[in-house]
Symmetry: C2
Subunit: 496 residues, 2 copies
């Protein structure tokens, strides 16, 4: 893509300036529509050091009311790179509906540098390219307008610019050691940029701009922006078709096939609980030391015993090393973004545990059944979730998902108990009764979900919870087993 | 406080255990009320290394449903400490209404370490103590229940515990170099903790717990929590009286006294604008290099020209180094916290510029006039804002506040223009017309605000904007002057 890039012909400066003015006016005229149609726009500006990314963005935003955009320079600190998944800084920075985000460097820069610094294996490099394509496709399918620009200059131009900056004390500090390294290794960077651009030209295409000609680059970028925004506003908001990748799946039973009779005696429960909690406590320190992130998702019928189960798991954990995230219906600023955004922002740091009390699977249960999203949306979500969870496990996370299962009679008994016990009344709402009426529809949705998202890397566990005590011991055992496995494989993993 | 701490007498273990169980039940019974009465609770747990802060918190949360609490270990990274105000990590971590936040170490730990590491001057140390008292009072006055616990052990006990941890490979890593330093310098830490506790016993009192007796410490902490929550739930939500500190104020004219005739010719405007923008662009790099944070707040009449003014200021800035924050009415998660929270979370890193299009002064204008807060709330806010802004300038920030001023006729002309120009119609709403009817009330509120919050460190500038071009040049000149001054004083400042 870069190697065979043809420099553009010289153009009349006056004409280009006029075009820029016209295009700015045009862009300006779309902004209100952007807001009304709730179109989110992500403009990724990548390119060589000293190619003028900052100046380009400055020109692009100059006529835009600040209410409509933000410029983000993703904070790539060593802490962030080391302790969160590769795409974390970008997935948490996506625009909300009706807003434009300009990203000043993004996943390409981050990937190319990690690769050339030899921080990642060839295998991880390939995985990250795949993750980028997944990320961009998910945004596109979710109605995001993504525009990818690469500002290109050749080695000589870059050398000249850096020299000029270095001549004066006021500007010399702007040339970093990293920039000088890029200049020395231009040839390797070129090869790597080229390859990454080539391989990420899938869901969203790249646009290479000639960084040597600042004005025409601005004009070309504005032209692309206005053109894409215009056509996005003219059409219905884009909704992607379900994308199907074959994930290796674990065969799971239907809910109706699960034997709910397992139970345990009080005496044995107490003894076992203590033993398991002690073991989990030890393991918590071990995963902290080994920097293994852990993501545990709970779903289940109302009154199945999620809360009590979570409390028994959380009790032995060091409170400095875990979080429980109760997931209610999304707040407005969450609703205004991709449905996975509010889970990306709640991921644990490496070495920490995040427990989700209800999860991203709301998409294929309540949102599906209540019509909070379109049919295409929830049908697409199985794959999107599988991709999301694969990205987590590739990062090194342990991902566990529990369906806390009871039968309809048990639910009724527990509902009645809640209704009749003053201290428990807050736990039962009209909505719980309404959901109960839709039991069969939910059962169908849950069966679909479990069947389609029980991947080998992040399987579902159906937890028999007619006896809550039995259920608690079972989740504890599953967690302990998973953490033990992860600890014993962590070192091998890191060796690559 | 610590020096004369009397160890508690030995107690019967069985009795203490029973008391813990009872208190847990009691605490549990208040949780729903906490939510209903929207009471936010902040439990700060400070104390010696190895005193058992983590275990104490673990016991406190063990019966609480995760929906009601979060444990936060403030991420004190060097980046955060160096680039944000002292209280940033805590002010951004306060609970929302109806939730409990447990802070595992907080401002005391941070201050004592900075002091003993000799990272701050004696003067800065005193300022931070004052800031802590301001912060705690503001929370208390805003209806927060703040509970401050200090877990105390003596030098021998600490030594023993650390030795025990160091004996085994599985636990040795938990003793950090910092902990060992504390053990060696126990005497100095004791003196400093003692002093800080003594001096921050103002708005919210300290409770010292005997860390040697784990069970009684848990019992005592639970007793305090339940007692305080109980009495907070029984009373009306606490609202503090206006607190008055004499801030050195700049004398300001009334709005009606401002001469709005200044204007400028197009020709001269263009020339000057370019010159000033170039200068601002240079200065932006300089404040970036010198790590000076800049906070610019815009308020003004509807249609006064805030947006265009901000655009002219933003245009010459490097987009990587500034943000514009348009402030609309608060979202639910913002409304559920102290009114300054959504501004704390939007502060710039040092070396960056944050421009606020409308600000925290909404409290004493729209919230006052529309009754969105109580009279005590907005009357208290002048002082709270002065304290907030002083904390910013003490951190090293340049804080500038512009009131973009026009007269009533000019507003009417601009409203009509907006109404009659299709591309501008989105800028005018019914609310604008309604606000216009309340011009006189607003004028009174603005006069109060400008008079009470024009502190020497963060004065208001009334910008004559009947001629928008004149106004733009004037704000640019004020910003340039302030940044030049800050740059020339920055080095002296850092020397102390």
């Amino acid at each position: 893509m870069l190697k065979d890039f043809e420099k553009s012909k010289p153009e009349d400066k006056e004409i280009v300036s006029t075009q820029i003015r016209e295009m700015r006016d045009e862009l300006f005229s779309y902004l209100q529509g952007l807001k009304e149609k709730k179109l989110p726009v992500l403009v990724l500006v990548e390119g060589w050091a000293a190619a003028g990314k900052g100046s380009l963005i400055k020109e692009l935003i100059s006529e835009i009311d600040p209410r409509f955009y933000n410029v983000i320079t993703p904070p790539i600190t060593p802490e962030r790179e080391a302790r969160y998944p590769f795409l974390y800084s970008y997935a948490t920075a996506i625009p909300e509906n009706g807003k434009i985000i300009f990203l000043d460097s993004g996943w390409v820069e981050s990937l190319v540098r990690a690769r050339l610094r030899l921080e990642i294996t060839q295998e991880e490099y390939k995985r990250r390219i795949r993750q980028i394509n997944e990320f961009e496709r998910q945004l596109r399918d979710g109605g995001y307008l993504v525009l990818k620009l690469f500002l290109h200059i050749d080695r000589e131009e870059q050398a000249e610019r850096m020299e000029r900056l270095c001549e004066k004390a006021e500007t010399a500090w702007r040339v970093t050691d990293d920039d000088l390294w890029q200049q020395r290794e231009y040839r390797h960077f070129l090869k790597c940029y080229d390859e990454v651009l080539e391989k990420t030209d899938e869901a969203v295409h790249w646009h290479i701009l000639d960084g040597k000609k600042r004005k025409t680059a601005v004009r070309d970028a504005l032209k692309l922006m206005t053109g894409k925004i215009k056509s996005a506003l003219e059409k219905e908001r884009y909704v992607g078709d379900p994308f199907r990748e074959e994930f290796p799946l674990v065969k799971m039973p239907l809910l109706s096939e699960v034997d709910l009779s397992p139970a345990i005696e009080e005496e044995e429960y107490k003894k076992e609980l203590k033993k398991l909690q002690n073991r989990l406590s030890e393991l918590h320190y071990e995963i902290y030391m080994r920097r293994i992130p852990v993501v545990i998702g709970y779903e289940g019928w109302d009154a199945a015993g999620k809360g009590g189960n979570i409390r028994r798991v959380a009790y032995p954990l060091d409170p400095r090393g875990f979080d429980v995230h109760p997931i209610a219906s999304p707040e407005p600023h969450e609703l205004n973004r991709h449905f996975l955004w509010r889970f990306w922002t709640r991921l644990p740091r490496s070495g920490h545990i995040s427990i989700f009390d209800r999860t991203w699977y709301g998409r294929v249960m309540v949102e599906r059944l209540e019509g909070f999203c379109s049919e295409k949306d929830w049908k697409r979500a199985y794959n999107e979730i599988n991709e999301f969870e694969r990205q987590l496990t590739e990062w090194g996370a342990v991902v566990l998902k529990f369906w806390i299962h009871i039968d309809k009679d048990t639910q009724l008994a527990r509902f009645n108990d809640r209704q009749n016990t003053p201290e428990k009344q807050w736990k039962i709402t009209d909505e719980d009764w309404r959901n109960r009426e839709k039991w069969d529809l939910y059962e169908e949705a849950v069966n679909d979900m479990i069947r389609k998202t029980s991947t080998e890397n992040a399987p579902w566990y159906i937890i028999e919870s007619n006896d809550k005590k039995y259920a608690r011991l079972r989740t504890l055992r599953i967690i302990i087993k998973a953490l033990e496995d992860a600890c014993s494989h962590a070192f091998e993993r890191q060796l690559g």
